[in-house]
C-alpha cells in the first residue's frame, strides 16, 4: 500500500510548472515578431512534454481594425501562433499548446508579438483589463 503522499509511478503527473506575467506597460510598432516584454520562461525539464497556456489582452493606441499576432517560441523555434483584430478598445486571444517530448535539460519558452500597423500596447501595469501571461507545465506524458 502506498504511504501518505506517495504516488503511483504509472500515473501521469505535473512534474513542474512555471508562470510569468507581463509586469509593466509595453508597446510595439514592429511589423515583425519581437519578444513580448518579460514573458519568457526558462525551465529545466526531466525529458517530457510541456503544456503551454498563453493568454493576452491588448489594444492599439493609434489605429482601429488592426491585426496583432503572437507566437509561442520553444527553444527558438516557432511552435504555434495566434492573432486577433482589435482597435483602441482592445481585444484578447489565447493559445494552448503541448510540445512533443523535450530532451532533459534547460528549455526556453517565450512569446513574441507584432502588429500590422499602429502601436500595439499591453498596459499590464495601469489597465486591469490588459495583460499577458504564460503558464508552462511539464507533464509525464
Amino acid at each position: 500500500m502506498p504511504l501518505a503522499g506517495s504516488r503511483d509511478a504509472a500515473t501521469p503527473q505535473v512534474r513542474n510548472s512555471a508562470f510569468v506575467e507581463q509586469i509593466s506597460d509595453i508597446t510595439t510598432t514592429s511589423t515583425t515578431f519581437v519578444d513580448l516584454g518579460n514573458v519568457s520562461i526558462t525551465m529545466v525539464t526531466a525529458g517530457a512534454p510541456c503544456v503551454c497556456f498563453f493568454s493576452c489582452s491588448a489594444s492599439n493606441a493609434t489605429m482601429n481594425n488592426v491585426i496583432t499576432s503572437f507566437r509561442l517560441m520553444v527553444d527558438g523555434v516557432a511552435a504555434r501562433g495566434t492573432k486577433f483584430t482589435y482597435n483602441t478598445t482592445g481585444g484578447g486571444t489565447t493559445l494552448t499548446y503541448r510540445t512533443g517530448t523535450l530532451a532533459a535539460g534547460s528549455h526556453i519558452f517565450k512569446i513574441q508579438w507584432s502588429v500590422a500597423a499602429g502601436t500595439g500596447r499591453i498596459r499590464a501595469l495601469t489597465q486591469i483589463d490588459e495583460g499577458a501571461n504564460l503558464l508552462v507545465e511539464e507533464i509525464d506524458r
Partner: protein
C-alpha cells in the same frame, strides 16, 4: 492513520491542426477529434483556436461535443477580408460513464456572410488545439 495520495490528473491527450485547413461550410463539420478511454471521471477540456476569414465581417462558430453531447461553443469574426481572430473554450464535464469518449471540435463559417475560414499553423500564424485532462476531482 495513513492517508493516501489522491491523484487528480489521470491522463492527458492532445490534438492540433498541423496543416493548413479551411472551411466554407455553413453547418458544423469536424475540425479536431480525439478519442480517450476514461474511468468514471470528469474531463477538463481546453480549446484554443484562431483563423482568418476571406470575407469582411465573416465569422466562425465552433462547438465542442463530448461523447455526443454538445457542450460549449465559441464564435469570433474578422472585421476585414483576411483578418484573423480567435476563440477559446474551457470546459469541465460531469463524471462520465467509464469507457471510450469521443471529443469533437466542430466549426463553420457564419451563413450571413459566408467566406472561407483558414487556419495556417505553420510558422506561428494561427492554430487550433484541443487539450484534454481526465481528472478525479
Amino acid at each position: 492513520m495513513p492517508l493516501f495520495y489522491q491523484e487528480s490528473v489521470v491522463q492527458t491527450a492532445f490534438a492540433e491542426i498541423t496543416t493548413t485547413t479551411s472551411t466554407t461550410s455553413l453547418t458544423h463539420v469536424d475540425l479536431l477529434t480525439l478519442t480517450i478511454t476514461t474511468g468514471a471521471n470528469p474531463l477538463l477540456i481546453y480549446v484554443s483556436m484562431s483563423s482568418e476569414n476571406s470575407a469582411a465581417n465573416g465569422w466562425v462558430e465552433a462547438q465542442l461535443i463530448v461523447s455526443g453531447v454538445v457542450s460549449a461553443g465559441t464564435a469570433y469574426h474578422s472585421t476585414s477580408s483576411g483578418f484573423g481572430n480567435t476563440g477559446s473554450i474551457v470546459w469541465k464535464t460531469p463524471p462520465l460513464t467509464a469507457g471510450s469518449q469521443l471529443i469533437r471540435l466542430q466549426w463553420h463559417v457564419g451563413a450571413l456572410i459566408g467566406g472561407s475560414a483558414t487556419i495556417t499553423p505553420s510558422n506561428g500564424v494561427n492554430h487550433a488545439t484541443l487539450y484534454v485532462q481526465e481528472v478525479t476531482v
